[in-house]
């Protein structure tokens, strides 16, 4: 990648038996260039998006063009989607392209000790029917009190209702 600072988008490709994992880190902006990555991907591919902390409007354009033009990729899955990715998944139809979302991070807060934490939620386990009226509950690892979902469920989880 061109930029050398810590916020620049970078990725690491890991070959697994039967599929390829790509771990993204940094910010997706107008400098994002996926052309080289596009050429390397084929078959079943999993994007780990847990460390994508920010994505701006120009970055959305680059991303949308990228995910909709992966001719050699047979199956695409998003895992560990960060809140920045969830925000875009919620608002934009074609942000995921043909991908399915397997897991994502969601904000939780403990009202007793004010501890904030992003919990990894698994779509198949926590939302088996795609219904978002009930959110998973967790106990605070610090004080043991129940944590609350720290956003509006219908806002944060609306991507799960996308047809």
């Amino acid at each position: 990648m061109g930029k050398s600072d810590s916020t620049a988008l970078a990725w690491r490709i890991k070959e697994r038996p039967g599929f390829t994992t790509v771990e993204f880190t940094g910010e997706i902006d107008e400098n994002a260039d996926f052309s080289e990555l596009r050429r390397q991907l084929k078959g079943a591919v999993v994007f780990n998006l847990g460390d994508v902390r920010r994505i701006n409007s120009c970055g959305v354009r680059e991303w949308v063009n990228f995910v909709r033009d992966l001719p050699e990729v047979g199956e695409l899955t998003f895992t560990h989607c960060s809140p920045a990715i969830i925000t875009q998944l919620n608002m934009i139809y074609n942000f995921r392209g043909a991908a399915s979302v397997r897991s994502f991070f969601a904000p939780y807060i403990c009202d007793s000790c004010n501890r904030e934490e992003e919990k990894l939620l698994d779509v198949a386990t926590h939302f088996p029917n795609g219904e978002i009226d009930r959110v998973p509950s967790f106990s605070c690892e610090k004080c043991g009190e129940p944590m609350e979902f720290d956003d509006l469920p219908e806002r944060y989880l609306s991507f799960l209702t996308e047809a």
């Binding site: 920010r54 120009c58 354009r61 919620n90 139809y93 904000p107 806002r155 996308e162």
Partner: protein, 391 residues
């Protein structure tokens, strides 16, 4: 550089004076030598007549020689002075040429005089001054262009934004605001009375900044106005977005996109119907203070992204006293002193804290809360929001 003992004009005068003195000295020496030879000739002559004739002839010769040599020396001195003057003249002209080119706005050719005398120092100073002034002028031009661009942006925004930021509709009080960044963004908001009980609110933002972004916004706003005029009270949010998408797609040719949220507040049916083109969800706040926030969730392609865009339509029930909050992404994306964006959660907290007696004061307080969060960092995005209170 070594300091010179004499100034340049003094040196020129001294040179000329020395040349003339040398010439005079030489002429004098030659005259003395000529007279010595004459005396020797006269000493050798026997007859007074012969001596007189010899004396006259010798004087004539000497006078001729002295005159010729004097003229030659004067010519040499003149040539030397002319050469020296020409050299200095050329250097002075180079300096004048540099300053004249600068004044006339022509490409500047630097004097490039590396002489060690005052003229060289003067040429170096002129080169330094012109370089410095060229930088100052370039900056001034850039600033003037930016100012001119901002004037264009303000003119376009003035044409597409509501004439007044506070709008009263039957049963609905609306107050909007758009605070542009120093480089001018592409945000827009508008309110359209569809009929006696239905009001359409449109809010959006083009990607990027500057005139290009504002022109995309203007194209989208024109399409919105056109479809609203054509369809009248039958206008739906999805068809407004479809028309705007076609306009942005045609205008920007995928170079730029725009997000937009269109709502129709229907006070007869007590619902808000909405469609979304990749824009942050508007909020519905039921009650004030500890009231409950709901997000108006609908999804669609950003304007200008694809020719055939899809926009789903959704609706939410309204109750007396409800408040609707529309905003653009910039308000959430701007960062505070810690480098962290305001985000949805802090924005909702600001809305709760800033409750005012009417829509206008509430809007002003929310914006003040956000600006307080941004602190000394000037917002990099437009700050745009609209508050609608059901009365």
């Amino acid at each position: 550089m070594a300091r010179q003992v004499f100034s340049m004009p003094a040196r020129m005068a001294l040179g000329a004076a020395l040349s003339v003195a040398a010439a005079t000295l030489l002429v004098g020496l030659l005259a003395i030598a000529g007279l010595g030879a004459l005396e020797r000739d006269l000493d050798g002559a026997d007859q007074p007549a012969t001596r007189a004739a010899l004396g006259a002839a010798a004087r004539d010769r000497t006078a001729l020689r002295v005159g010729a040599i004097g003229v030659a020396l004067a010519l040499v001195a003149g040539a030397l002075a002319w050469r020296q003057g020409r050299r200095y003249g050329r250097r002075i002209h180079a300096i004048i040429g540099t300053t004249e080119a600068f004044v006339a706005g022509r490409p500047i050719e630097r004097a490039r005089d590396h002489g060690g005398d005052e003229l060289g120092v003067l040429a170096g100073s002129v080169d330094f001054m012109t370089d410095h002034l060229a930088t100052v002028v370039a900056r001034a031009r850039e600033r003037a262009m930016r100012e001119a661009e901002l004037e264009v942006i303000r003119a376009i925004q003035g044409a597409i934004l509501p004439a007044t930021p506070e709008i009263e509709r039957p049963g609905l009080q609306l107050a909007g605001a758009l605070r542009s960044t120093s480089v001018g963004g592409g945000d827009v908001w508008s309110v359209h009375a569809l009929d006696g009980h239905r009001t359409m609110v449109v809010i959006g933002g083009a990607s990027g900044h500057g005139v290009e972004a504002v022109l995309v916004t203007a194209a989208a706003k024109s399409a919105c106005d056109a479809i609203r005029t054509a369809r009248g009270a039958a206008t739906t949010p999805a068809e407004v977005l479809e028309a705007m998408n076609a306009a942005v797609f045609q205008h920007a040719r995928k170079r730029q996109v725009m997000t937009c949220f269109v709502s129709i507040v229907d006070l007869e049916r007590r619902v808000v119907v909405h469609a979304n083109a990749g824009h942050p969800f508007a909020y519905l706040l039921r009650g004030v203070g500890d009231g409950e926030f709901r997000a108006l969730t609908s999804r669609g392609n950003r304007l200008g992204e694809v020719r055939e865009a899809r926009y789903e339509t959704a609706e939410a029930d309204l109750a007396p006293g409800d408040t609707l909050i529309w905003y653009t992404g910039g308000i959430l994306a701007c960062e505070g002193s810690e480098g962290e964006a305001l985000g949805e959660k802090r924005f909702r907290a600001a809305i709760r804290r800033a409750v005012g007696p009417d829509a206008a004061s509430w809007r002003d307080r929310v914006i003040s809360e956000c600006l307080l969060y941004y602190g000394a960092i000037p917002p990099k995005e437009d700050i745009t929001m609209v508050i609608g209170r059901l009365t």
